[in-house]
Symmetry: C2
Subunit: 110 residues, 2 copies
DNA sequence: TTCGTATATTCGAATATGCGAATATGTAAA
DNA sequence: TTTACATATTCGCATATTCGAATATACGAA
């Protein structure tokens, strides 16, 4: 993983912390994230790029979809601690509900 | 403690993380911090104010000295995790050495 | 090839953050 | 009161970050 300051900078943005919280549930493609967080595609792409740059997430391309997941090198203790704390309150709490609603609505595919 | 994003923002600055690392050792006055981190007084004061604003540290005035320490409400698990990681490398590692050198040189008083 | 969908990048504007220099405040001692 | 020292704040500037809109790229299907 990268320099701790860069990692903390990456995590200290609400959009990116929300993304980490979702990706802790499971691997997701960009459209899952956009729809769940209700953000624009530009915003999703930009912040995912940032998380990838500091080594917190990795991506995997499958056809035209890009699937993101928590990187293996990521500090699980740190991320679990942060995600647990964040999910006590909004918007992190509702994000999880919206993610599961989306899953039941769309099935396994994007 | 404050909103997690504000706390992470406060922690994602090298000067402030160095301060947290020092304050985890013991309570310190501003001049201890300035001298150990080799930063200007303005810079020390500014960043300590930031840490205080998000509830990570508290201060205690004694005559003309202001002593800072880690706040009781601060998330110890998070701070210990970060400080342990940071101190593996520079400048956090040398800061601890400089702090102890200063202590033996100056004794207990400022 | 053309079309549609998924994702990434670039651009310019707005806002936030960090800095040093100068100045202000507060306390203790002379 | 004056002086000296410890700390805080203000100011102007430089840099970084974030955003939406527009555009580019990449892939699969027709």
């Amino acid at each position: 993983m990268e320099n701790i300051i860069d990692v903390l900078k990456a995590l200290s943005d609400e959009t990116r912390l929300r993304m980490i919280s979702l990706l802790k549930v499971r691997e997701l493609c960009v459209c899952d994230i956009m729809d769940t967080l209700e953000i624009t595609q530009t915003k999703a792409s930009r912040h995912l790029k940032n998380l990838k740059a500091v080594g917190l997430v990795t991506d995997r391309q499958q056809a035209q979809w890009v699937h993101y997941s928590i990187a293996h090198g990521a500090d699980d203790r740190l991320l679990d601690e942060l995600v647990d704390r964040a999910r006590i309150s909004e918007p992190y709490k509702s994000d999880l509900i919206r993610l599961e609603e989306r899953r039941s609505r769309c099935g396994r595919e994007c």
